[in-house]
């Protein structure tokens, strides 16, 4: 029998946490890719319908809500690209939660540090 950890719960074997990570990641990635592709295809269709082709610049995040309601192709293309660019963030954040549930403190710290560096890069991009 496995020794209980300080919280009184048996520490799960590493493979259990790994499997949970994998299932969670699979579903989240699939959803993000699906939504991202749908938005991009919608943006392409809107661009073709407007007869202007595809725009050559993305919109800043702050301008997206208004542009989406105005059916601007650039808004849907930008949001689709952002959805896709968000998949690694979802991947890391999801893994952080699962490692935490598995009481795998070392990899909670590792994934938290990865997420912190990624968030730092977003802040740097806004400079």
């Amino acid at each position: 029998m496995r020794a209980p950890d300080p919280a009184g719960l048996p520490a799960p074997p590493p493979d259990v946490a790994q499997t949970l990570v994998e299932r969670l990641v699979e579903r989240l990635l699939l959803a993000a890719i699906g939504v991202g592709v749908t938005l991009m295809l919608l943006g392409v269709a809107l661009g073709i319908a407007a007869g202007d082709g595809l725009p050559d610049a993305v919109l800043p995040v702050s301008g997206l809500p208004q542009a989406l309601t105005s059916w601007e192709p650039a808004a849907y293309l930008s949001l689709g690209l952002i959805m896709l660019m968000a998949t690694p963030f979802v991947r890391v954040a999801g893994s952080l939660v699962v490692f935490a549930l598995a009481h795998d403190r070392r990899y909670v710290l590792v994934t938290a540090a990865v997420l912190a560096v990624m968030c730092l890069s977003v802040l740097l991009g806004q400079v």
Binding site: I33, L84, P88, R91, S121
Partner: protein
């Protein structure tokens, strides 16, 4: 039509990028910059989005096959993500020719090491990072341990920096670091690299998006093509013999090294 040409290019890049764990930036950046005349920073930004798409799509398949070593991936990605932040800023602020030449030399050394067959695998599963996966070509489960973790961590900082600088996913460095240096079987290294390149590219891509370098007229068709190609690459990687993958990887590395030498010497890109 440019849209269709970009999609076709990206399908190829996604196929080989995911099959070898390099992300496809190796193909996308030079073709977009030279073939389509994109400004280099726009080509790099487009490539970064492509690398993220490759990673996301490939992970769906590799994770399901149990080939991705998530713990090892996150540990090394911590190093490469930190390097990517520095690399993303470097690309915006400075000329990286000297770094390119230095890494070209490193790549050629790696090719030589891989050619010598120094990717001998520790067959015993050991330590917290050890793992196992089923290899369909060998018809058995492959168990392995991971060695030289600290050295691999240090070198991953360098690989992340160059990834941010050049718009490649860093897989050209991740795979040999894991397979040649750390004793990870090539297929597991490729699968784990596919996890790492997405995170590494995301850190750089956020900077490029914020600064307006992402051009949807190229990034969107490229992304759509990448997703198609990257849905087939992992299946090929799983089914091809490791020796074939190794040779293909050496060719990519050598080609990439030559490209970096040309860029460093002439500044063609």
């Amino acid at each position: 039509m440019v849209f269709a040409a970009i999609v076709a290019l990206a399908v190829v890049a996604g196929l080989f990028g995911s099959m070898l764990g390099v992300g496809g930036g190796v193909i996308m950046v030079p073709v977009l910059a030279i073939g389509f005349g994109l400004p280099i920073k726009t080509a790099i930004a487009t490539s970064m989005v492509c690398v993220i798409a490759t990673s996301a799509m490939a992970q769906l398949s590799f994770v399901k096959r149990g080939m991705t070593n998530s713990r090892l991936g996150f540990l090394l990605v911590l190093a490469s993500a930190a390097g990517a932040v520095l690399g993303g800023l470097t690309a915006v602020l400075v000329d990286g020719r000297v770094l390119q030449a230095a890494f070209a030399a490193v790549l050629l050394y790696v090719v030589w090491q891989m050619h010598r067959g120094s990717d001998a695998v520790a067959v015993e599963r050991s330590g917290p990072l050890g793992a196992a996966y089923y290899d369909p070509t060998e018809g058995r489960e492959i168990s392995y341990g991971v060695r030289r973790t600290r050295l691999g961590f240090g070198l991953s900082i360098g690989s992340g920096n160059v990834a941010g600088l050049l718009g490649v996913g860093g897989g050209v460095f991740n795979v040999p670091i894991m397979s040649v240096l750390m004793g990870v079987p090539l297929k597991a290294a490729i699968a784990t690299s596919n996890l790492m390149i997405g995170v590494t590219a995301a850190t750089g891509a956020a900077i490029f998006y914020g600064r307006g370098y992402v051009d949807p007229s190229y990034a969107v068709p490229a992304t759509l093509g990448i997703l198609i190609g990257a849905s087939f690459g992992p299946r090929l990687a799983a089914c091809l013999p490791a020796r074939v993958l190794s040779i293909a990887f050496q060719i990519v590395l050598a080609g990439f090294a030559v490209l970096m030498v040309v860029k460093a010497a002439g500044g063609a890109l």
